[in-house]
Symmetry: C2
Subunit: 223 residues, 2 copies
């Protein structure tokens, strides 16, 4: 069965997490544009990834243009830039799905759980954007390094949180497209656990001296 191909923007796509996701989404056949504050930086990253993919091209643009042209917008910026980036593209998001992969890491203690205002960072984004944007949280626990290695399977599930079930369903499908297992993990508030788990995975990776520990959910059979 042919899966639907989407126009996807990856904002902050010049970082490791964004480049890994853009690479896999493009390899799966989606039409990907990398977004950055500066169009030139986005285009440079896009050119680099396009080369890795052989013929298949990834585009680059500034964040607003990238978001404006997309059906689905990924947000993969550092935590400190999350709210500013959302504000920048706010006008381009109405009626779309925003997939937020931001983790509230507060350097230098990135291996210690930080809960912004005692809750999920992405829950605040959903609240700011209101109901016209379907916000989904996903991909926080997947190591950027593993994502970037296209020929490797990634041994990590993607916990997908969001208040809109059909938007979660869409993201679970995108996970499948890029070789990951997406799992419905409840409303957007539940993203607090997933965001916080990234710090735990960093702590574990350091303790056991491995490049990127991940998680798997056990005991489920997908319906």
């Amino acid at each position: 069965m042919e899966r639907k191909r989407y126009k996807i923007a990856v904002l902050g796509g010049t970082g490791a997490q964004g480049m890994g996701l853009a690479l896999r989404l493009a390899a799966a056949g989606h039409e990907v544009t990398i977004g950055s504050r500066q169009a030139e930086r986005a285009q440079a990253a896009a050119a680099q990834l396009s080369q890795r993919l052989g013929g298949r091209a990834i585009a680059g643009a500034d964040n607003r243009a990238a978001a404006g042209a997309a059906e689905i917008v990924f947000l993969t910026v550092p935590y400190a830039a999350e709210q500013a980036t959302v504000a920048e593209v706010r006008g381009e998001l109405a009626g779309k799905t925003l997939v937020d992969a931001t983790v509230p890491l507060v350097p230098p203690k990135v291996s210690v759980v930080q809960l912004p205002n005692g809750e999920s960072a992405v829950a605040a984004v959903q609240q700011n954007l209101g109901e016209t944007v379907r916000v989904v949280s996903a991909f926080q626990n997947v190591s950027a390094q593993h994502l970037g290695e296209l020929d490797h399977a990634v041994d990590c599930d993607v916990l997908v949180c969001g208040d809109d079930q059909s938007a979660r369903e869409l993201v679970v499908g995108l996970c499948e497209d890029i070789g990951l297992r997406g799992i419905h993990a409840g409303p957007i508030r539940n993203s607090a656990a997933v965001e916080a788990m990234t710090s735990v995975l960093i702590a574990i990776s350091r303790r056991y001296k491995v490049p990127g520990a991940g998680i798997r959910i056990t005991g489920i059979v997908k319906t």
Copy 2:
């Protein structure tokens, strides 16, 4: 290599989680006493478990007596009783390790993450008890049902958080004793992620209609 056998109290050991842990700890050769507010209830639960174990006996006592006689104290009470139980046994805990398995579930919405005061419930316990008690958080993600089925392997890792490394080490060893993999997951603050993850696992179990989803950490090799 013979492992050390400990005197262990399981407070709240008349609940499903406590009974499962008591059962497995006793089966592994530890000297287990179930604690409850009422000694009679603890003794009834202990008698029931002792019968399941054949000859090996589990004792029952009120919480203070159980904690007083133990080297290691497990806390497996409902969230609403956590602070009161800690206050009740406070005088018995000095110099000991307290293993807190409490999950801040707030009925009826137990499948939605609740963060008490925006942080970990057990971090507050460590703060209240001070440095003379080594508080370790563990076992929140392990389904009581799976724990209670002695002849089944439990397909779930135990994330072990605590500020004292040797106390964490002790609990990782206890996990091994009862057939589980314990993983060092950082300081007590990181327990916020683990506690919150239990609500996510409940949400997942409901969504996928399974009795008790669990988690595994991937990409590590134990040292």
